[in-house]
């Protein structure tokens, strides 16, 4: 099977059909919910109605995704589509890594969690050399120092820092 989708379309052929079908299904579902999720107030002009612009969005999505599906050169599911679908599911492992990182920062602290996250994910990616591990560690430290200590971005102090003694506790909450 060729990787090119055809004359009128640039890109790979695999996975196009499941994506187009999924998009159309989601669009139709959202369009069906329009009457339930928006209101139309009598006596107001059409352009001031709360329903007008969501309708433009959902009907545009449904219409154009239907046309896109109709224009696809292949309209039957094939083995490469399932292989591509599996690739879409595998990525949820990294979504899990990211959300675990987000969940742990307010509990254990930005600095320790970032260092451990960078190290573990680097290892998970197959790097084992002390050089790469060292780079991951330095990178994690640099990110925390740049954003939290220097740029003072809003990342709350961790629950764990509450157990630290007085001055150290304030320092950790403010800068790390």
């Amino acid at each position: 099977m060729s990787d090119d989708i055809g004359e009128g379309f640039r890109g790979p052929r695999r996975g196009q059909l499941p994506f187009a079908v999924g998009l159309l299904a989601a669009s139709v579902l959202l369009a069906a919910l329009l009457w339930d999720q928006t209101v139309w107030k009598d006596g107001k002009d059409w352009f001031s109605q709360a329903r007008f612009w969501p309708a433009v969005g959902v009907f545009g999505m449904a219409g154009f995704s239907a046309l896109h599906l109709w224009h696809l050169p292949r309209k039957r599911f094939a083995r490469p589509d399932w292989i591509e679908g599996r690739n879409w599911l595998i990525v949820f492992e990294f979504v899990g890594w990211f959300l675990a990182y987000v969940w742990l920062v307010p509990l254990l602290g930005y600095l320790p969690v970032t260092l451990v996250f960078a190290l573990l994910l680097t290892r998970r990616m197959g790097y084992r050399s002390p050089r790469m591990m060292g780079t991951a560690l330095v990178f994690g430290l640099a990110v925390v120092l740049l954003f939290k200590a220097f740029l003072q971005v809003k990342i709350p102090g961790a629950a764990l820092y509450e157990f630290l003694p007085g001055a150290l506790r304030n320092f950790f909450i403010l800068y790390l």
Binding site: D45, H68, Q152
Partner: protein, 546 residues
């Protein structure tokens, strides 16, 4: 004479803003950081700007914007390095640079190619800023003529251009832009105070944050893509000598450089068109007007000049619709718009009327930025090329770690992170399928502008024709019709061409005799099938054990 005096006074007033230490630091960090980010294939300015966006909210608008502008304006300089040395564009817009840059490297002229790329980029950047500074007084006069209906029509034109610019992906680009428009409507409707698509969830009442969407679609999706991919082995060429020779060589091609920079400025000003069209037009022009067109694609210096000059002339010009009308033309300027909103500065005609110092300061920042970047590259290219060797999957780890800062520092919300991860997966799927991502962001931004402006514009409109009775509104409406007409004409021509190609390559004969012959073959086959079925029905089934 009075205009020149006013103009010089304006520049003097604006340069005062740039004299601050924090603005200077932001310029240096932005320009050097932008070059580094551009030089790493797989990162790009969109990822960097998305990650840094929330960090700039605590800064002064001029400081934050200067830093983001620095990244935007300098990333293409850096992007030319891997394009020339390893045939991999650092940013998407450096793709055309590989055509002539890499062949020059293979024949041992890497230094010449890099030097030409730097000098062309520098010329493009300076040319566009010079045009903008000269155009500023004109823009200041035209911008107030844009009322609600003109801005609505300009936003509509922008969204149509963005969709039609995705040739061969127009339908899915339109679906994605509609998705963006729908996303912008989620939450409380400001005119009627009714909920829209909130599903009675409290966290959806305030709507979907643009930055969460941008971080998901650009940063997280890129991290996922890199983490799921493989590392590549990269061999770099050693570079010796100075990089000044390109400036001398550029002087020998003033026509190509001038035309390419002009294309960059004009295309940059039109929303949704941008670098790719400017590059394509400049490259085609350079090839057609060259004495040696056969060299293009095989290491032609003119081709390299055309590509690099055009793409670097765009960032400055892209700031025009953003600053004068508040309408972003592509994803990066859409992100910058949020910096204005956070600081309650509304870009548009009022900005040009009331805060011209600020506008000219931004242009001057772009000018200084180009000088800084070239100075940095002339000194540090040999050290800089090492960043090209950073393994892809480690880059994925780095982007995922940095994305956390971007999303979480916004509102310290776990829900925002889940939403960003969702958009990350969507962006990952779209990128794997080579489908457009940018229309979602522009649909969100322009959809919101269109909703607000249509409501205020319609208050004074009695009949549909009143909507276009002002000169600029009429011109914009005519442009919308023209763009749509040209698009449908192109679709029809493409279709016709495809059909003609199918007919010419078809092996099946279309003559009457061969149609009869096919019919006979078909009937004989069918008869054979019937006979075999009949025989198998009458033949006794075997009783042998199997």
């Amino acid at each position: 004479m009075q205009m020149v005096t006013e103009f010089l006074a304006q520049i003097q007033a604006s340069s005062g803003i740039l004299m601050r230490w924090d603005v200077g630091l932001a310029l240096i960090v932005g320009s050097v950081g932008g070059v580094l980010i551009g030089a790493i294939p797989g990162v790009g300015p969109a990822v960097a700007i998305a990650i840094l966006l929330p960090a700039t909210f605590s800064m002064d608008p001029i400081v934050g914007l200067t830093m983001l502008l620095g990244i935007y304006g300098s990333s293409m300089y850096g992007g030319s390095i891997p394009a020339i040395l390893i045939n991999t564009p650092g940013t998407a817009v450096n793709a055309l640079t590989t055509y002539d840059g890499f062949p020059m490297t293979t024949r041992g002229e890497a230094r010449r190619a890099l030097s030409l790329a730097y000098s062309s980029s520098f010329f493009g950047g300076i040319f566009s800023v010079a045009c903008l500074i000269l155009l500023a007084p004109v823009l200041a006069k035209i911008a107030p003529m844009f009322g609600s209906r003109e801005i609505f029509l300009a936003a509509l034109l922008g969204i149509i251009l963005v969709v039609t610019a995705h040739r061969r992906h127009t339908l899915i680009a339109a679906a994605m832009a509609s998705f963006g428009i729908w996303l912008s409507t989620i939450g409380l409707h400001p005119a009627t105070y009714s909920k829209r698509y909130t599903f009675d969830l409290s966290w959806l009442s305030s709507g979907v944050n643009l930055i969460v969407v941008v971080l998901g679609l650009f940063a997280l999706s890129q991290a996922f893509l890199l983490l799921m991919g493989d590392d590549e082995k990269i061999r770099l060429t050693r570079l010796k000598g100075s990089f000044f020779q390109g400036f001398r060589e550029l002087l020998r091609h003033p026509r190509v450089a001038g035309v390419a920079a002009s294309f960059g400025v004009v295309m940059g000003m039109i929303p949704g068109v941008g670098e790719f069209t400017a590059q394509f037009m400049s490259y085609t022009y350079a090839q057609k007007s060259s004495k040696r067109p056969e060299d293009f694609g095989h290491g032609s210096s003119e081709g390299l000049i055309a590509a690099e000059t055009a793409n670097n002339a765009v960032p400055g010009a892209a700031m025009i619709p953003l600053l004068a009308l508040g309408i972003p033309g592509e994803a990066l300027t859409a992100m910058m718009l949020s910096v204005f909103y956070v600081h309650n500065v509304t870009p548009g005609p009022q900005l040009f009327q009331n805060d011209m110092d600020f506008v000219v300061a931004l242009y001057l920042a772009l000018l200084i930025l180009n000088v800084l970047v070239v100075a940095f590259l002339l000194v540090a290219t040999n050290q800089l090329i090492r960043v090209v060797k950073i393994p892809n999957r480690f880059l994925g780890v780095a982007i995922l770690t940095l994305s956390f800062v971007g999303v979480y520092s916004l509102r310290n919300s776990f829900t925002d992170c889940i939403l960003a991860a969702g958009f990350g997966v969507l962006g990952y799927i779209l990128k794997r399928l080579h489908l457009p991502v940018v229309p979602i962001v522009l649909g969100m931004v322009l959809g919101n502008i269109m909703e607000v402006k249509l409501r205020s514009a319609m208050a004074r409109v009695k009949t549909p024709l009143d909507f276009v009775d002002r000169p600029i509104a009429a011109i914009l409406f005519a442009l919308i019709l023209l763009v749509l007409a040209l698009h449908f004409r192109r679709v029809l021509l493409d279709r016709k061409e495809r059909k003609a190609r199918e007919w010419s390559t078809s092996h099946a004969s279309t003559s009457f005799a061969s149609a009869l012959s096919h019919r006979r073959d078909f009937l004989l086959t069918e008869r054979g099938k019937r006979l075999r079925a009949k025989r198998s029905r009458f033949s006794r089934p075997s009783t042998d054990e199997r």
